[in-house]
């Protein structure tokens, strides 16, 4: 039977990161993945990541995936694709189905990094063709270049629903609405705001009543729900859609852990049944580790760090790494993980209700319910200021771990968590440092929440990731944060640059009195 030092199950962000670290310490590492391509979901994640420089913030998931694959190949990691691990048995023996063969493989250590599966929700006619998972939508449009539908209802307003909703718009689909059974939007406000200013309506405290159609989806009906989760009479709303996209959460795909004999716990904070692990990711079975979503649902950025920690721990366990060397790396990695696990959306904050930011600003009720900060609410946030000449307006209103704006500004105009503070702090602009209007912060903001504004000139520079790109001199309509027309607008500049990484900067001119409200542009009047 073939043996190696470490078998990693799953070539997603956690598994690849683990494999890279272990192989760099000299371990012979084989990664098995059931898919035809490595990278897990990274190659479907075309948006810029949150976090800070050490978390690869402002880099798109696809690029991070490419980097990881290069690292893996440089480190000598063997990645086996179309290789489904079907079981784990005594003494770390695994069975792998590859093509028409069953293989048996053994290793001294195992890292289980199988990721997550999508939750589904049942409703009348949910088996009709046209009802799909959000992951399916991402796979179709971002990997294969096929639009999942033309008119789409998104069910679920967590980050997956919001991010995929925006990607659907980028793919040229129409998103008729985002509905969520919860009374508030579940994902980052900045993700919701991107959809809202494109005109996508949000229906919170609404659930799907039925899909319509005989052979395929031709419509959807949603309805408001009361506190007892009953449909409010006469609240039903019909949409003509050909696709209903389900984004109602993820569950750890932890079956192999159970099979390996790991002690499991059903932990709602981790979104389901997970192996109990220590700080290094080691399960109750010595030498078997778990990393990434399989041990608790989080973002890919956290999964990559967990993977690195588990890979190093496996190397240390087998004598490939001295304790002192491990400790040094752990100090750096656990610090990076802790900074991602802070703020309002941290795993430890699940179930908590926030009314104010850490700075003491009241949270926007409109953002939570309708997906956009109301005009009368926006001035309460520290990043939203008026100044002479061009300057950034930082419409960042929730404590999320992210600071590429501060990192991007060549003149250090923007600060996130001054004096060694946390990266979940709201950004602040210092006018004295002199903004040049370079726009690097606008393109760097993963939440597309930064605008360059010149109040007197009535000029607004906004991030724009759609096709066709508007042309200079073009006349159109400025839209508000709510996606509704505000006033006529003229495109006065369109900037693209490699440094912006596909986030184009569109500068529009509007009558000066609308400079505080115009936040998007549409060609049609």
């Amino acid at each position: 039977m073939q043996r190696c030092d470490l078998i990693v199950i799953g070539a997603g962000p956690a598994g690849l990161s683990a494999a890279v670290e272990a192989a760099r310490q000299g371990m012979r590492v084989t990664v098995y993945d059931e898919n035809a391509r490595p990278g897990g979901q990274l190659f479907k994640q075309i948006h810029k990541f949150f976090g800070s420089r050490e978390h690869k913030a402002k880099i798109r998931g696809i690029r991070i995936g490419e980097e990881l694959l290069q690292e893996a190949s440089a480190a000598g990691v063997q990645v086996e694709l179309d290789a489904v691990v079907t079981g784990i048995f005594a003494d770390k023996e695994v069975t792998v189905r590859q093509g028409e063969r069953m293989l048996r493989r053994k290793a001294d250590t195992l890292i289980i990094a199988t990721g997550a599966s999508e939750n589904m929700t049942s409703f009348e006619n949910w088996t009709l063709p046209g009802v799909i998972g959000a992951g399916a939508a991402q796979t179709m449009m971002n990997l294969h270049g096929v639009r999942p539908g033309e008119k789409i209802l998104m069910l679920g307003s967590g980050n997956v629903g919001l991010v995929v909703g925006f990607q659907l718009l980028q793919a040229g689909c129409q998103v008729v609405a985002v509905a969520d059974a919860l009374p508030g939007i579940g994902g980052y406000g900045v993700h919701a705001a991107k959809l809202a200013r494109c005109g996508v309506p949000f229906y919170t405290a609404h659930t799907i009543v039925r899909a319509e159609g005989v052979e395929r989806v031709t419509g959807a009906v949603i309805g408001a729900i009361d506190q007892n989760w009953h449909i409010v009479p006469d609240s039903e709303k019909h949409f003509d859609v050909d696709t209903i996209c389900l984004a109602v959460g993820l569950s750890p795909m932890s079956r192999l852990c159970g099979l390996a004999g790991c002690v499991m716990e059903d932990n709602p904070q981790k979104a389901g049944l997970v192996p109990v692990v220590d700080a290094l990711g080691e399960t109750s079975v010595p030498g078997i580790f778990a990393a990434g979503d399989v041990s608790g649902i989080e973002e890919a950025s956290s999964a990559m760090i967990e993977g690195r920690i588990a890979g190093l721990a496996a190397a240390h366990r087998m004598g490939f790494m001295a304790s002192s060397a491990l400790d040094a790396r752990l100090a750096e990695l656990t610090g990076a993980l802790a900074s991602l696990r802070a703020g309002m959306f941290a795993p430890g904050s699940k179930g908590k209700v926030f009314t104010h930011t850490a700075e003491g600003c009241a949270l926007s009720a409109s953002l939570l319910r309708r997906g956009f900060v109301a005009d009368e609410e926006i001035d309460r946030y520290p990043g939203v200021t008026r100044a002479r000449g061009v300057h950034p307006v930082l419409e960042c209103t929730q404590n999320i771990p992210c600071n590429p704006c501060a990192d991007a500004c060549p003149r250090q105009c923007i600060t996130v968590g001054a004096d060694g503070g946390t990266i979940t702090a709201l950004p602040v602009f210092d006018a004295a440092r002199g903004c040049t209007g370079c726009g690097l912060c606008v393109a760097a903001c993963s939440g597309q929440a930064i605008f360059l504004v010149d109040e007197e000139a009535g000029e607004i520079t906004l991030p724009y990731e759609f096709l066709p790109l508007p042309q200079k001199g073009e006349q159109g309509m400025a839209l508000g944060r709510d996606g509704q027309p505000v006033c006529p607008a003229e495109v006065v500049a369109v900037r693209t640059s490699a440094a912006f990484d596909k986030t184009n900067l569109l500068t529009i001119r509007v009558p000066a009195e609308y400079a505080g409200r115009a936040r998007f542009y549409r060609k049609e009047r």
């Binding site: 088996t127 009709l128 270049g145």
Partner: protein, 105 residues
């Protein structure tokens, strides 16, 4: 249904254009892309009818897990079309229950 140009991704790497058949009708797609994508781009939504209720099913998870999209491919039933690469002259058929149409009726 195909995206010609994407604002972030640009174009998509594509295999050679190939012909295949769906229930005997000639369609075209790109070699190497999942069979389900070629069908979707050609406007086919129903991959099979279920055994008990004879209800239509199509793509659901698109990553080979849910098995809703299974069809009869080159005579073999229960093939997950969302992860099966398209090849020239493939014979793709709607699945009824566990097999071909006559078997279910």
């Amino acid at each position: 249904m195909r995206i010609n140009e994407h604002p972030v991704l640009g174009g998509y790497p594509k295999g050679e254009a190939v012909a295949f058949t769906f229930d005997g009708a000639r369609l075209s797609g790109y070699a190497g892309e999942p069979v389900a994508m070629a069908l979707k781009a050609a406007g086919v939504f129903i991959h099979r009818y279920t055994r008990k209720n004879h209800s239509p099913r199509g793509i659901f998870c698109a990553i080979g897990r849910c098995t809703d999209c299974v069809m009869i491919v080159n005579g073999r039933p229960n093939v997950r079309t969302c992860i099966t690469p398209l090849a020239a002259d493939m014979d793709v058929r709607t699945q009824y229950g566990m097999g071909a149409k006559h078997a279910a009726l």
